[in-house]
Amino acid sequence: MILQTALLAVLVALSVLAIALKDLLRSAIALALASLVLGIVFFRMGAPYAGVFEISVVAGLITVLFILTIALTKSGDEVRESKLANIVFPVVFVAFLAIDALVMKRLMGKVPALARGGEAGTFGEVLWKGRTLDLVGQIAVILAGVFAVLALFRQRDKHE
């Protein structure tokens, strides 16, 4: 329980860092570490597949993509950011933590039958036999992503 709480606290701290850090590269690494911790939490809670995907895809692949993209950018003009975020974010964050601590534990205690899997079977069975429609959706999302890249990077120099 203590380890779990500590892991969750680290997860939240790393996520905050990912938002708060001004350096994009550090921010991306903080995010990768956060998903690594999340992957460990998944493992500990008995969801190995979710853990594997979280670590391999989110912490691994997506981080590589982020870093590649950041490497392709040039340092240009300083972007002036609103100072308001520096005040609003901590206030909202603290309020969120307070609400979380006060309400969620009691509320979750009232959720009946939590942590009972509805669909049985191996990962492959669930994915191919149980959730095939989601795969169709996934294909559609990938298609949309590819077409979006093709569309948004067409005749780029004309607009630069």
Binding site: L107, K110, V111, P112, A113, L114, A115, R116, G117, G118, W128, K129, G130, R131, T132, L133, D134, V136, G137, Q138, I139, A140, V141, L143, A144, G145, F147, A148, L150, A151, L152, R154, Q155, R156, H159
Partner: protein, 493 residues
């Protein structure tokens, strides 16, 4: 073969970039429009026969083995499919001429058809997670379509839209997780039955709040509307028409009503929340629309207002209220689609969206002016156009259900709507012709043809409103009015 509604646009979308390489214009135009024409015909002609004996449950098989693709077609989903196909076709016909100067037409239609497939998939899905997946399909395609012009405004609007959409998705996934935790299932039927037995008040309230935030953001109800007045005007006109006419309704209103009425069951508390959200959106957005100078921004605020109208009517929860709400959804999809298309014609001809800079355009663009007037009067609820009948049904339903104050609010919103639309019509089309526009000419054939098609539908449905209601709206409203019984009893696979 109801899976065709999802698979056909996806397959054609996959072919379109290749078709675009072979022929820059003709082939993409032909393929995309033929696909949508087929979907209109299939939904409108074959659909009714399919659901004659109750909802169709389709379990797809592959080489004799059952796959996990379970789709359901009932009165409500068929109604939405018809709306999506009709407005989708009109906007796609408009694109033949309008998207000419944007370039990469094959790509444009590919994204467009993926968005249509996403909406169709969402409407046919029979479980909560599939709803989320297809909502994302439509959303991802729409981000790129909003940014299609690649200008600074477009990119900024698309980014803002993306950010708020992601927040909405996060709420939805949270809600789905809570429901899955409670019931151990995602299937509409399984969840509805499990929730009935569980009696899980507080946890269900949390799930409802999360869904309300998520779908509220997608439907752009006030106070979740901030992204819409930027995203919808910045997109190319046919995309604005589809976003305002269809997407906020499918991924906002359809999903919200399906989940709340058919899966969770409409409680009095929820009904009150919907009534208030609807009423505030209908009136506040109408006031905001009044102050707009940008023609498309005015239309965008009007969309928020009219979606508020629909939610207000569905919040009543009576069969008449639901029927009125759905009928208004249909009418608004046609009329708002029409108005965004005419605004696109005006913008293309004059190069501006500023109402103050226009004036007297009716002399140069008579067909566009006339169709715009039909759309404006229809949304404002002027008889005998279609919008009048749906608003009348909504107001009668509100009075019958004992909500005279909300009925008065609905009338007020209607008056405001008429006010800003007349303002728009006068500033853009009536009066003396602004000399700057002396050389302006009527929009090209396909742009005019698609607006005429939608205007004729507005007039035709207004005249034949009774048969439209009995043929299309009533079966849909019956499904919703049945509450969880519509799903729990007959949707088991």
């Amino acid at each position: 073969m109801i899976i065709l509604f999802v698979v056909l646009p996806l397959v054609v979308a996959g072919l379109l970039p290749l078709a675009g390489k072979a022929s820059k214009r003709l082939l993409p135009d032909l393929l995309a429009n033929a696909t949508l024409l087929f979907l209109v015909a299939y939904a409108a002609v074959a659909g009714r026969a399919l659901i004659a004996d109750g909802p169709v449950l389709q379990q797809t098989t592959w080489l004799g083995e059952a796959l996990g693709i379970r789709l359901v077609l009932d009165g409500f989903s068929l109604f939405m499919l018809v709306v999506v196909a009709l407005v989708g076709l009109a906007a796609s016909l408009f694109s033949i001429d309008y998207m000419e100067h944007y370039g990469a037409k094959g790509n444009f239609y590919a994204l467009y058809l993926v968005m249509i497939a996403g909406m169709n998939g969402l409407v046919l899905a029979s479980d909560l997670f599939a709803v989320y997946v297809f909502l994302e399909v439509a959303a991802v395609a729409s981000y790129a379509l909003v940014a299609y012009g690649l200008g600074r405004d477009e990119l900024e609007a698309a980014f803002k839209y993306l950010m708020l959409s992601v927040v909405a998705s996060a709420f939805l996934v949270g809600g789905i997780a809570v429901v899955y935790g409670m019931t151990g299932g995602l299937d509409f039927a399984a969840v509805a039955m499990a929730l009935k037995e569980l009696n899980a008040g507080p946890a269900l309230a949390v799930a409802s709040a999360l869904f309300l935030l998520g779908f509220g953001l997608k439907a752009a109800l006030i106070p979740f509307h901030a992204w819409l007045p930027d995203a919808h005007p910045s997109a190319p006109a046919p995309i604005s028409a589809v976003l305002s006419g269809l997407l906020i309704k499918v991924s906002g209103v359809y999903a919200l009503t399906r989940v709340f009425l058919n899966v969770f069951g409409l409680t009095p508390a929820l009904s009150t929340v919907l009534l208030w959200l609807g009423a505030v959106s209908a009136v506040a957005a109408a006031f905001l629309a009044l102050g707009q100078k940008d023609i498309k921004r005015m239309l965008a605020y009007s969309s928020i207002s009219q979606v508020g109208y629909v939610v207000l009517a569905i919040g009543v929860g009576t069969p008449l209220g639901i029927a009125g709400g759905l009928f208004h959804l249909f009418n608004h999809a046609l009329a708002k689609g029409l108005l965004f298309l005419t605004s696109g014609s005006v913008q293309r001809a004059t190069g501006t969206r500023d109402l103050d800079a226009m004036g007297g355009l009716a002399k140069r663009m008579p067909v566009t002016a006339a169709t715009n007037l039909v759309g404006a009067l229809s949304i404002a609820g002027v008889p005998p156009l279609n919008g009048f009948w749906s608003k009348l049904i909504i107001i009668v339903a509100l009075v019958q259900a004992g909500h005279p104050v909300f009925a008065a609010v609905a009338v007020l919103a209607s008056v405001l709507t008429l006010w800003y639309y007349l303002l728009m019509q006068r500033k853009a089309f009536f009066g003396r012709l602004n000399e700057t526009w002396a050389a302006v000419r009527e929009a090209p054939f396909w742009m005019t043809a698609s607006t005429v098609l939608l205007a004729l539908l507005c007039v035709g449905i207004g005249i034949l409103f009774a048969s439209t209601v009995t043929t299309w709206v009533r079966p849909a409203a019956d499904v919703l009015a049945d509450g969880i019984h519509a799903v729990a009893g007959s949707w088991g696979f």
